[in-house]
């Protein structure tokens, strides 16, 4: 790949007359030419190699996700060479004396063998598990970046939906993975999953029998989860990741606003050689951090849990952190939500935290771009990112959602919080139950106020410049603090954003008094628009800057070159 790239990028790099290619380059060129004659790949590869990407650390979160996925795939292949997905009954005779002679399933025994008797097996197992953790975390953080910068807006809604599905699939893939070893913890997790399925009204128990091929636990669930974990879900994951990347190329990468960056261009560096080196190096950094973590820190010590037995459970039975929010929801839901009606038992205490929570949470997430687009009525393409403060309501909604998630997440660890902080688990649960409803509201208000304050500060800075701390006495005895104007690069960042006004509600009926069929929907949209945009800090206009400079505050500082600096900066605000 990289040699191809060298060959392709040579004409661009050279400005002057081209030197004669070396014999080695000729040879490589010949081989590549052979391939190009048969595939016609030179053109698309050249296009990709010259593709320009903008630079920012937050754009690398998606890369972390992709690289972690690659690491998980590679190590997963290694594990399949030894793992036996079977509930078959065997006696353990391996090297871990803590389980010597204990009866267990082949799945658990082979996991122990990978950990203790396969060379490097434990390290690979831990790399596999940690890389999966990094994958899911990076997908989540990447999604946060996309959300708070508004990168999901047209034309990238499809990619947002794909990303949402990827996040859900990643969680499912992780669950299927840690359920495979058939240790006490994973069996408990599968038991909880069975409860989720059974809580579906009417069809629940039939569905559970279908999934487990009979009563829990049966012998079918491990092979079935295995095929889902190593074939079905990974295939969909890889396919969707590919589609995700193609769409990034097609729609181009977004960029943060800045001098010279517009909705029509992409300012950055080409893939070859800059990003090929940077991203290639970053792969090894990611792999290195995962390997280091795996070498130093145990994850899922299956040998400690012992084989699964449906009659047993251990304290600290929790899912991996990415399923924690669902476990937390179960811990928060009060028991009286399970009741019988008309001869049927309705387990809302389970159903609300699982078969309702998961579709609703991921559904809302996937639908958000469309909801926001409906409210704003914005049909334009957006390639420039928003600074989170410049979209206060969206940022506040995001923080409220994260707060809601965090409350459920923390609730999953309520027992450990109780011991470690010397508190009562009952009190913690009660507090979190209240916070589940109150927390998001507080987070919404606080975040929105912080965003608005930051915007006001930006406005102040754009209008009056930076406080210099220099007190000036005028001949007529007045004192004022001199403000220094900010340079145009900073200015650009402060004034280049949209602040839509709330939509005005039209009367809803025409001149003859006939009601518009869309009146109701328009009314609703106007209400939402007010919710989003009634608190708005408009960006500074060139006129306002000029006025500020004449009102006596800043006139002393606006001389010569400074005027030009401010003028050109604020000019950009108008576009």
């Amino acid at each position: 790949m990289s040699t191809t790239a060298h060959g392709e990028s040579a004409p661009v790099a050279d400005r002057g007359p081209r030197p004669a290619p070396s014999p080695a380059a000729k040879k490589i060129g010949g081989v590549l030419g052979w391939f190009d004659d048969r595939t016609g790949l030179a053109k698309p590869v050249r296009y990709l190699m010259h593709k320009v990407f903008p630079d920012h650390w937050s754009f690398m979160l998606g890369e972390v996700a992709m690289y972690s996925m690659v690491v998980a795939l590679l190590t997963g292949v290694f594990l399949t060479l030894w793992f036996i997905p079977s509930a078959g009954h065997v006696e353990y005779t391996g090297s871990y004396i803590g389980l010597n002679g204990i009866h267990m399933s082949e799945a658990y025994k082979s996991t122990l063998d990978i950990s203790f008797d396969v060379k490097g097996g434990l390290l690979i197992r831990q790399i596999h598990h940690w890389s999966a953790n990094f994958f899911i975390a990076a997908v989540g953080l990447h999604a946060c970046r996309i959300f708070f910068t508004g990168a999901f807006r047209k034309p990238r809604e499809i990619n947002w939906v794909i990303g949402t599905i990827l996040l859900l699939l990643a969680c499912i893939e992780g669950f299927a993975g840690y359920s495979l070893p058939d240790d006490l913890l994973s069996g408990t997790g599968i038991r909880v999953m069975e409860g989720f399925v059974q809580s579906a009204p009417i069809i629940g128990s039939y569905l559970a029998y279908f999934i487990f091929d009979g009563a829990f636990p049966g012998e079918a669930i491990i092979p079935r989860l295995y095929i889902a974990h190593v074939l079905l879900v990974p295939a969909i994951l890889v396919g969707l990741v590919a589609a995700h990347l193609v769409l990034v190329v097609v729609t181009k990468h977004t960029q943060y606003p800045g001098p010279g960056r517009t909705n029509e261009n992409v300012v950055g560096f080409p893939v070859m050689p800059v990003y090929a080196a940077k991203a290639g190096g970053f792969f090894f950094i990611v792999f290195g951090i995962i390997a280091l973590t795996s070498a130093l820190v145990t994850i899922n010590p299956v040998w400690m849990y012992g084989p699964y037995d449906p009659s047993l459970v251990t304290a600290d039975s929790q899912p991996d952190w990415y399923m924690g929010f669902a476990d937390g929801a179960l811990r928060l839901l009060p028991g009286w939500l399970e009741f019988s009606a008309l001869g049927y038992t309705l387990s809302l205490n389970l159903a609300l935290g699982s078969i309702v929570l998961l579709p609703v949470a991921f559904g809302l997430m996937g639908a958000y771009p469309f909801l926001e687009a409906w409210v704003t009525g914005d049909k334009r393409e957006h390639h420039l990112l928003d600074r989170p403060r410049n979209t206060p309501t969206r940022t506040a909604i995001g923080m409220a959602a994260i707060t809601c998630y965090l409350v459920m997440f923390l609730a999953a660890g309520n027992d450990l919080m109780a011991i470690k902080m010397g508190l009562s688990i009952n009190d913690i649960t009660r507090v979190l139950q209240v916070l589940f409803f109150l927390g998001p509201i507080i987070a919404f208000i606080v975040t929105k106020r912080i965003c608005l304050s930051l915007q006001r500060q930006d406005r102040e800075l754009a209008l009056h410049g930076r406080e210099s701390g220099r007190i000036v006495a005028t001949p007529d005895g007045r004192f004022y603090e001199a403000h220094e104007p900010i340079d145009k690069y900073t200015m650009w960042n402060l004034v280049d954003y949209d602040a839509p006004k709330p939509l005005e509600l039209t009367s809803g009926e025409d001149a003859r008094g006939v009601k518009s069929p869309t009146a109701k929907s328009e009314k609703r949209r106007a209400a939402w628009s007010r919710f989003y945009f009634s608190d708005r800090i408009p960006p500074v206009t060139p006129g306002e800057v000029a006025a500020a400079h004449h009102d006596g505050h800043g006139h002393e500082a606006i001389e010569g070159g400074h005027r030009e600096a401010v003028g050109s900066g604020s000019h950009s605000a108008g576009h």
């Binding site: 972390v64 803590g98 950990s115 913890l185 190096g281 970053f282 820190v297 012992g306 009952n426």
Partner: protein, 264 residues
Amino acid sequence: MKALAARRRHPAALIALLVVGLITVGGLFAVLSPMQRAQAGAPQVSAQDVEAGKKLFLANCATCHGANGQGTKTGPSLAGVGAASVDFQVGTGRMPLAAPGVQAQRTEPVYFNQTQIDQMAAYVTSLGPGPGIPDEKYASGQGGNIARGGEIFRVNCAMCHNFAGSGGALTRGKYAPPLKDIEGKHIYEAMVTGPQSMPVFNETNLDPEAKRDVIAYLHFLDKNENPGGHALGNFGPVGDGFFFWLIAIPVMLGAAVWLGKKAA
């Protein structure tokens, strides 16, 4: 010897000497300290012991348990709790209770030496028969079947004490304490007497061999180095997630920010 003499003025020599000195003194203290001395076997009880135990009892326990150990509003009757109970509660520093709370906690240091504890145990036994001090043969866990002990532990203990004996939460601030580095005798006594929220595992429920195996398993966990690196306290996935989000993810983000800052 010559090499050693040549390096005697090396800057590190002083530090090395200090380390050797500290280890020697600390080791001697650990060996000779009266607190660490484990008493083997069931103690011989005499009338003098009972008398001395009564004196200790009146001075330290009677406020709550009553002058004759009959119990008061603040403390239960001690008739029939047995020597095992006294040895466990006092020997782990849970009694005398420093302050009323949801649960008596293990405290260090223990305020009584083993002789005094035995005297109090003799007095309490004189109030009514109960479980005695366990036989060292079983309580030491020596020769126990580790794997069988692990199985018994998972069946009977793990739901509260966690799979690795890291402890766990109970309702309203009560908890199952961690079982790391606990003397076998105290584990045995806890099983026989069922202190606080713990159920009693009597000799018909778990025979002495089973108890020995459990102790052997716990001592195996104490000694066994975790094969996969740092165990993060063996608190299950919550511990993993805690480490992951507080250390591993910041490191990863730090790497991204660092590389992002590098001019391309």
